[in-house]
Subunit: 395 residues, 2 copies
């Protein structure tokens, strides 16, 4: 069988590292931030903008849960997989659906076999398991798939977290077994449809395992070790940013990231602010995804090099400055805070579009600068200056 | 005093004509379609897209009523006029606010002096008159301003329409008087702020008069004649597409357009479908604005070379074709009907963004082809083929 991916570390500085991650369809430079494309779209932004030099997103995330419910597996298959369906040729990673189902709370019931839940769209009864998730993810056809896991809440007791991680480990094994079976079918399917695509299939779909364990460091270590024993193409830290305190999150990252296999990608799921990203990179993390730049953008918040800016604030009504004076994105080159505030107050879609663009530009540019810093041995300096500026307040 | 604009007819075919309209800041090739930018934004599309080769919008429309209420005159002034406030360097036309206030129905009271109404935003009492409208439009600073008029409903009786047009004529005179006074102030203001802008002020702000008269052809003729007697830089046909039947609209255009001064621009306000545009061009109209491409796009409707397409329709769930197979816009080059339908069904903003882009591309490209056809003496052929294709049904 072909490899799933190649991970070549180009430079390190302390725990921070920069690598080239070669997947089935694309090469990705790490550390990398993945914009979240829930239902086949990164909300509020066109793919052309994601590809533009402002953003240059190397990889985006798709949500298995959402895409499975709508448009559904048959539509995605009929339309030739997720890349072809949405018109995106760069890399993608799909989550397993586990976290979304877990987030449904009272609407779901977890058993050994999997999770039963009611669709948030039409209330119909659905069932997601490692096997179903892997089947859906194979049809979606992202470069990287995730094992189906269970997430424990941030305040989980030791016993609860232990139970949850044992289930996650059994599901991880079943996810891996299911992937192997389906990879054959996927490849046969793909070779039929598009020759140019087949040519680039030097690598099979990669599968990442997920370490859980809530805020309990002993469980986190055990979860990681036993996930590594099963053997995956990369490893993720799951179950953070789910209600625990910030210092707990950083303790877990500091404890776990350096213990993850050094020659494979390390992915911190669902995190975080620009500062979280820099701090996690400093602890050895390679990959991130987060809805903050897009969701907060729609809610009127801009991330800037000098901290967050709430565009609703009346102080910006006549402000002729761009969102971020240090930013060179197309929004900051053209539009003032006063105008974007007016758009937001008027309920105009363009407010969301512009804030989303700027926020993604800021996150992605920050990660680009992180990569450059590590490769030139300047990461410690970059981290210090970036953090200082972030806390010096908005002009 | 400087001229307001220069209008040089380059080619004619029957009543259809193509001209170069030179305004204070920009040259515009006619016939031209103006996307509607109600509150300082053409809804759902970035200015970069409006400027792109797909759309290449030469001029957009701004709504005096909306901008006056929010962000308000002082903000617009403080921010250096509408162009600078929104970040748009190409040409703009502002309406007078008359139509929007008229549309408020029971919320407004019309007197000789002007119109009293309650703001749709906060219910506060406001008063708009020819003098106020001209003051606001001077501050907005568009290349072309419109006289403050009253619109009669589509079904207005002869007496009602007569009363309304007499008021409109008195308001037209007052609008013209008010413009002259303020032009001085405007120029003085502008020369202070931006030298490069002053340099291009070879022309003052232009003012167009508006002919009313509902569906009564005798009143329409009289309204036009007496508006021309007052003397404006261009003339508009107002009060169409306000509930009258389609054949009434076409009769009015056919009767009035050819009687409008031949050496000045003729603007048909608020109209219409691609077919309406072609038919009005054939009757001698030069300029159009309409919310159809943007509003219908947000409601899931695409305009195509073979008629309208409602993306909600289940028949498109697996449709791998672009919105319009004859269209070369970035949306049609990249995305399928199946994907755009999925976005629409999922309530994703990108559905509105993509449909808006395609619809504007279709309207603007159609007008570009109209100009080319007239200039090469092929307009009759273009009109016949365009109309035939429009009615042959969607693939």
């Amino acid at each position: 069988m072909n490899k799933a991916l190649n991970f070549e570390i180009k430079a390190t500085e302390g725990e921070a590292r920069s690598a080239t991650l070669t997947t089935r369809r694309a090469e990705i430079e790490t550390p990398v931030f993945m914009p979240v494309g829930t239902a086949g779209t990164v909300k509020g932004i066109r793919f052309e903008e994601l590809e533009s030099s402002d953003l240059d997103a190397q990889i985006i995330l798709g949500n298995t849960y959402h895409l499975w419910l709508r448009p559904g597996l048959e539509t995605i298959r009929e339309c030739g997989g997720l890349h072809k369906f949405i018109g995106w040729k760069r890399a993608m990673l799909t989550d397993s659906g586990g976290f979304q189902v877990w987030s449904l709370g009272a609407l779901r019931k977890i058993t050994e076999e999997g999770t039963e839940f009611r669709s948030h769209i039409d209330g119909s009864r659905c069932f997601l398991s490692p096997e179903v998730s892997m089947e859906v993810q194979a049809a979606l056809g992202a470069e990287i798939a995730m094992a189906f896991d269970e997430c424990a809440p941030g305040e989980a007791t030791h016993d609860e977290a232990r139970q949850s991680l044992e289930l996650t480990l059994r599901w991880a094994k079943r996810s891996k077994d299911a992937l192997v079976t389906q990879t054959v079918g996927l490849r046969a399917d793909e070779s039929k449809t598009d020759e140019s695509q087949t040519d680039s299939l030097r690598y099979r779909q990669a599968l990442f395992g997920i370490a859980q364990g809530a805020g309990h460091l002993d469980l986190r270590r055990e979860s990681l070790e036993r996930t590594v024993e099963i053997g995956f193409d990369g490893y993720a830290i799951g179950g953070l940013s789910v209600g625990e305190e910030k210092h707990v999150m950083m303790e877990v990252i500091e404890e776990i990231a350096p213990r993850m296999p050094a020659d494979q990608p390390r992915y911190l799921m669902g995190v975080g602010t620009p500062e979280d990203l820099i701090e996690a990179v400093a602890r050895g993390v390679d990959m991130f995804d987060c809805v903050l730049p897009t969701r907060n953008g729609r809610n009127g918040q801009a991330f800037t090099s000098r901290g967050k800016l709430s565009i609703k604030n009346a102080r910006y009504a006549l402000d002729q400055k761009p969102l971020d004076e240090s930013c060179n994105c197309s929004v900051c080159r053209r539009h003032t805070r006063a105008f974007i505030r007016h758009l937001y107050q008027s309920g105009e879609m363009l407010a969301s579009i512009l804030l989303t663009h700027h926020n993604l530009a800021f996150f992605l540019d920050t990660m680009k600068r992180v990569r450059q810093a590590i490769r030139s041995g300047q990461f410690a300096k970059f981290r210090r200056e970036f953090t200082e500026q972030l806390h010096c307040g908005l002009e």
